[in-house]
Amino acid sequence: MEFTEQFFQDALKTDESIEANSSILSREINNGKITISKFVEQIGFALTSQSVDQRVKGTQILSATLTKLPKDFLNNEEVSFVFTFFCDRLKDHHNVIPAVIDGITALISMDNVPKECPMQFLSSFFQNTTVQSQTRDDRAKLLSILEALTKRWSEELKTLGGDFVYNVINSIDGERDTRNVDFIFTFMPGFCKTFPLLHLAEEMFESFACYFPIDFNPSRNDGRVITREDLAEKLADCLVASEEFFEWDVALIVEKLESDLTVAKVDSLNLLSRCSEAFSSSTITPYFEQLWLQLKNQLLSGTDNSEVMSSALKALLKLLENATNSTDQSLSKSYQTQVLGTILPILGDANHRLFNAASSVALVCVSADPAFASEKILSSFYLILEGDSCKTEEKTKILAISSQIFRICSVKKSLKSINTPETEKLHARFLELLKDKETSLSVLLCLQECLPIVNEDFRKAMYSHMIQVLTNDDEEVDISTILWNFAKFYPQELHSECIEKVLRNLPIFQLSVKAKIYQNLSSLVNIEHFEKPLLETLLFNIFENPSINEQILALNALEEVLSKSNSVSKLDENFCIVESILKNATKASNVEVLENFMKIICLVVKNCSLEEQIELTGKYLPNLNLNSTSDLYLTKGLLGNLHKDVSMDEHFEKLITDLMNTSLKSDDEGARKVAHLLICSLVNKVESKSANKSYIRKIVAFIKEEIKKGDKKAVELLSWIAKGLLVKGDEDAADIVEDLAKLLDHPTLSEAAVLAFDVISFEYPGLHLPVVKFLFKQKLFHIVLKKIWDKLEAFSEHHLKAFGYVVLATPHSVLKMNIEKIGPVLFRCLDLQDSTDTLRNSLRICHNFIKEQDEYFKLHLTHLVKQSLKLTTYPKSMHVRINALELIEDITKYPEFVVLPLKTDVILGLTGSLDDKKRYVRNAAVKTRNTWFLIGSLT
């Protein structure tokens, strides 16, 4: 290609041609077809043209070409040559400057840049123009150039001294664009640390301080999100960038703390925290008194602004920590003495208005210097407790704060340093409070925090008190965390002095006391020392105790223990829980006991790994006979929560046959329920192989035969199988649902068929369905809608009821999509006066729509209000009445012009409900009626 003048003239015609030709040029320069100096020479006609526009374009194509060149292509001389050219151009018309900025940006990222070039550029730039007189985008580029220069040539730039710093301050001063401000705040802290600020420190500080506190509300349309918090955080970085700034920081903090704006206060306090983190104690010490005075004004002003309070506490903590971390040991004491001097008198009076605020400050002091502060505070507490006038309320408060002080000391690992005779005296004083019933629990809670330094005699007193608490009959207390803390430090002692005694005497206590003991001890199972005595006691009471109530209590406790335990399978291994249950279950006849057995086996199985589950089922399942009630419960426990990968193919047919037998033949409703849950879970879990499928089809066919004979139980069984298949996403499910839908017209089985839809839709808490198909609820809704739509349109009662159950289980978004279709059906459901369930279901669904001010319901409000008002006097169920009232209340959320026409009708219609016989209904009516009164009356 020939680079003739014509070529360049064409190239400069439009912005697009400049862009396209710069790519060609950079490629050719790279290939050695044309040198950079030749290139500059060639476009000389443009660069020296009398037309500003030409000069701009000439500079643009040069900059664009440079940008596209490889970083290492140009040598020192070439870079220097172009640099000089650009510096010269800075004197040109201001329209040329943007292109020069682009060029400089490209040049300073080159590998070979002679070190005098940046200086040359800077001096020329500052001489001829300023950053702040450029447009926003160019300012951003210039700031980036400044950042790049200061990072790459910091040593050279330092030789420029104050002039350079002065020019930088001028460049950033007065920046208004948030994105640029954000950039400045990001790079300036590094700048302030690298370059000596000399006499310009205050100017530099002022250029940041004028933004404080940040007042910025980002617009929602802004793509790059800068938040106020980000800016505030970065501004604080700048304000603490140099140790010299502290003097002015203090002035700024003091000034802004006087503001009424929460933001100003919080930002000042956060700045103080940052200062304390950044600066040395010798810088801060001269100002401490002044700063504490300010903090005191915030902390002890009785304000309830929690944001200011927490920032102030944090600032104080950082300030005190700054002293603690300094080499001067006495400094922390001197700070603490000042702070404690203010708050100790307040802490001396528990009824003082500022007591809570002062105690927060006290805790901050302890966090900063645990040994010194806690000694002072605790000894002042001791004096108060010694006084005669100390009331119970004050004692409880003191105990609560002491407890927190001990906890902080223990976290900071300085409990040892407060292990002094004074502390022991205080403990002794606390122990006296143990005798007082109102403070005793607080004493235990307090001392549990400092157990390592409580001496043995005191501990013994605590043990005997805990025994008393655990074994008395008159109060419900939870001391499990206290026991846990003791168990951590003194397991042996706790066992011999407390737990063993309690467990030994267990038989003599009443049931309620035993329940309390089990409750409190259950979490100890995770500490090795207590595992054995606890489990043995429970298992003894489960299997050897003749009283059914005792057994149930122990079973519940075992359940609690297992749910808290970290290693259930290990417990089962050590204590053979499942095995002993299976061995002893035949003796059990009580249903509640069996149910608990079931739950416990379930818990154990659930916590086992896949291999352990396979082992357990392989070991126990063959010996279980499903025709016996007790074995049925145990099988449910064993299989009810299995992982979906544990194969059941081997036992599947036998299990299903036996369970069907129970379901169809048994009269024991409890056993049938268990059988149903298990069938549902098994059908859902079993692998979709052809053998299993054909077996399921076979039994479904059998059940249908039974249904033809008019067996209601068969309908129920079929619904459970349908549920299992449906959740799994099996294709046979739709056919079964259709069969059930047909039964809704049956003369004798229609009621059972309605309940079948309840079974299919309801989520049972104890039912484990391992295989869940995505969106199965939506699928059910569509299947049912398709199958029974004709009947729904004709408003057949049984179909409406069945539909009510399905709709309740369907996700709201699905209903919303179909509201035009199902709306009339829902309204019709509200007319079914004899079915409480249907009424409640449809009210609930309508309510969900009303809450979000649905458009469809907005059009039918008059009708809905009429129907709901009728239901507010529905005699059969108070819940229907309450639901109806709540729905009417939420109708007021629609815009005023929509609901105002209904106001009089509703207010009159609700008068009757004000005299309802149930109080809850009356309460709902009062709330609803008063809300309606306010419509249109508040401006």
Binding site: K876, T911, L914, K918, Y920, N930, F933, S937, L938, T939
Partner: protein, 153 residues
Amino acid sequence: MEVENINPSVYSKAKQRAHTAADDDENLTDPFDTREIFDLIKNINDPEHPLTLEQLHVVQESLIKLDNDQNEVFINFTPTIPHCSMATLIGLSIRVKLLRSLPPRFKVTVEITPGTHASEAAVNKQLADKERVAAALENQNLAEVINQCIRVL
């Protein structure tokens, strides 16, 4: 408007009414009791402070008398200071709230606790006058102030 009682004593709120088995029994009738009436008026906002009448002890459960069979409710309320110019407004708010919340069979009487307000008799007379209460509610501005007081926030 100048606040008359700048620093009133603030008391703690009563606990929520305990739930009993009888509450859930469909067949039992829960009769009205003083606690229920108290719950209706305790949350009325004080016109001067962001506090409820319960917190200021303007209304107390012990000052409510109720005869469910004779359909009578009698309420005493206690202004925080004897010269409180808001006494009528507070009384009116209580009346209106009960008018809206109680079945119409009840005859409601609202009076100032004897000996707690300088112009007790005058206020009581105003509150007892049905015509004047109705007229007060016709007044747009007054009705709005009352609605502000009795709206539950």
